[in-house]
């Protein structure tokens, strides 16, 4: 195979889907490192964000790019609400209870999406987006838009976590919970902030998945496994790990089509997940032990 077709048919699509996984994986890794439970509703929350953006476009008549911030903020606030309504009552109980209840929330969110928007496939806009040719590299405008937005999200988040007072409080809570509490950090505020950011990133990942493919009520559930694999591959608690993990999973999934039928793409994420847990359970960037 020629280099250029490798880049066009495998690497670029892999990077695009990988950066979408990365957005989700960052949220998962933040939730785990601060609240210490898995979040199985992550995919369905991404689907909710994608459909909220669709509502912004079709009902309010917003342009597609303006629907993104709307969906990000709305989903972030919904995530805080779900936490207050459900998970906050389980805070002092064993974390497995919260993890299981996130599965229940996942089913509830999916049902709401199916009731409100139906089960049919939807699109943000009709028509085919033709790729532009950059010296042989074929990149669609929507792919450029996705990649640059993901970079912006990641840079903004890293700046927030390293420069701002509350970002540092989040890192402190993830690093040494008791000492953070002893230093006067308000746990409830950190938890709310974590849900706001993770929920917002979920919506962004769903939105970009919808932009690059299509909207379905099951779209979120379908990306849950690769998103988890990305977070664990990178090392739980590590933002840079989640980004690297997402990109690797995305690229490997696309490459796997060369050897296995494309219906089984998800297998490669599963295989990587198992392999990491067996060989290097703390992931590439030495994250927390699960």
């Amino acid at each position: 195979m020629e280099m250029i077709s490798f880049l066009n048919f495998y690497l670029i699509p892999g990077i695009v889907i990988g950066s979408i996984y990365a957005l989700g994986a960052i949220g998962l890794t933040l939730i785990f490192s601060i609240m210490r439970h898995a979040h199985l509703a992550h995919g369905d929350m991404a689907a909710l964000g994608a459909f909220l953006a669709l509502a912004g476009i079709t009902t309010i008549g917003l342009p597609a790019y303006a629907a993104l911030p709307l969906a990000v903020i709305a989903t972030g606030l919904i995530a805080i609400g779900i936490d207050k309504l459900f998970y906050s009552h389980l805070r002092t109980r064993p974390k497995i209870l919260t993890t299981i209840s996130t599965l229940g929330i996942a089913l509830m969110i999916r049902s709401v999406v199916q009731i409100v928007w139906g089960v049919d496939t939807r699109l943000y806009s009709n028509g085919i987006s033709r790729p532009q040719n950059w010296f042989g590299l074929k990149i669609k405008a929507v792919e450029m838009y996705t990649l640059s937005a993901v970079v912006l999200f990641v840079v903004a988040l890293v700046l927030f976590l390293t420069k701002s007072k509350w970002g540092k409080a989040m890192r402190a809570m993830s690093d040494n919970r008791n000492l953070a509490l002893l230093s006067g950090v308000d746990n409830n505020k950190v938890v709310a902030l974590t849900w706001l950011i993770s929920g917002g990133l979920c919506a962004a990942s769903g939105y970009f998945l919808g932009m690059n493919t299509e909207l379905k009520s099951m779209m979120g559930w379908n990306i849950l496994l690769p998103t988890f694999a990305a977070a664990i591959l990178g090392g739980v608690g590590k933002i840079e790990g989640a980004v690297a993990g997402g990109l690797i999973i995305g690229i490997v999934e696309e490459l796997s089509v060369m050897v296995i039928p494309s219906e089984y793409k998800a297998l490669s994420a599963f295989a990587i997940l198992l392999l990491v847990l067996l060989v290097r359970p703390r992931g590439l960037f030495k994250g927390k032990i699960l």
Partner: protein
């Protein structure tokens, strides 16, 4: 000298049963006071009682003339009492400077003067301010832990077994760090497993046993006391 911290006839425990049966401890400004005693004497419990981590049933804790009995740790910190836990007392994945910033979390406004004071006290840390605290040596980590606790400009620092599990070389280093902190104007109350070394280094000491006061005096007096010596030579 008036007491910076006075714990009077304190009774309490973690749950229903009392572990402390009327313990009294006083710390004056500019002194290092050590609490020693055999295992299960209630040393660490006494310290936790000061810091609001215990159910207090009787007695009082007064810091800087304010009764802080039953206060939450958050408020106690603001009353000028800082606590350095025995283990996990730094943010290992954050830089030295970020550790100090977290120490000043409850402060509003500029805290660079406090940070400068910590760096003056521990010049080693200044050179490593951008290093991850988790990658430092044991002695330097203890400096970070104390530095974090000093960021709210406390009048007294509570150290829970600062030398536990450390080699004699590090122990001496930590005692020296504590003297430096005292000389900078912050009193220190520490709980120690290594009774002899602690009494030799502290200005005054309290020997607790079975949840009550047994002996107190200057470190030298206690070391010379036969009753105290017997208590520790046995175990």
């Amino acid at each position: 000298m008036s007491a910076i911290l006075a714990m009077t006839q304190l009774r309490g425990g973690y749950s229903e049963t009392d572990i402390l049966h009327g313990v009294s401890i006083e710390v004056a400004a500019h002194e290092i006071v050590a609490i020693v005693g055999p295992n299960g004497a209630g040393k660490s419990t006494a310290m936790k009682a000061i810091f609001g981590l215990l159910n207090v049933r009787a007695g009082s804790v007064v810091a800087n003339g304010v009764d802080i009995t039953g206060w939450s740790p958050n408020r106690i910190v603001q009353a000028g009492v800082s606590y350095v836990p025995q283990v996990d007392n730094i943010f290992g994945e954050m830089t030295v400077h970020e550790n100090l910033e977290m120490g000043a979390f409850l402060r509003k406004g500029d805290f660079s003067a406090s940070a400068d004071r910590v760096y003056q006290l521990f010049p080693d840390l200044k050179a490593k301010r951008k290093t991850l605290a988790g990658s430092l040596s044991g002695g330097q980590r203890q400096m970070v832990a104390m530095g974090r606790a000093l960021m709210l400009d406390p009048k007294i620092l509570l150290l829970d077994e600062p030398t536990a599990g450390l080699s004699p070389k590090y122990m001496e280093q930590i005692f020296q760090i504590s003297r430096d902190v005292r000389d900078s104007g912050v009193a220190i109350l520490l709980v120690e497993q290594h009774a002899k070394q602690a009494l030799a280094f502290a200005d005054r000491g309290y020997v607790l046993a079975a949840g009550g006061n047994r002996h107190h005096g200057t470190g030298r007096e206690l070391l010379a006391d036969r009753a105290v010596a017997e208590m520790f030579l046995g175990g």
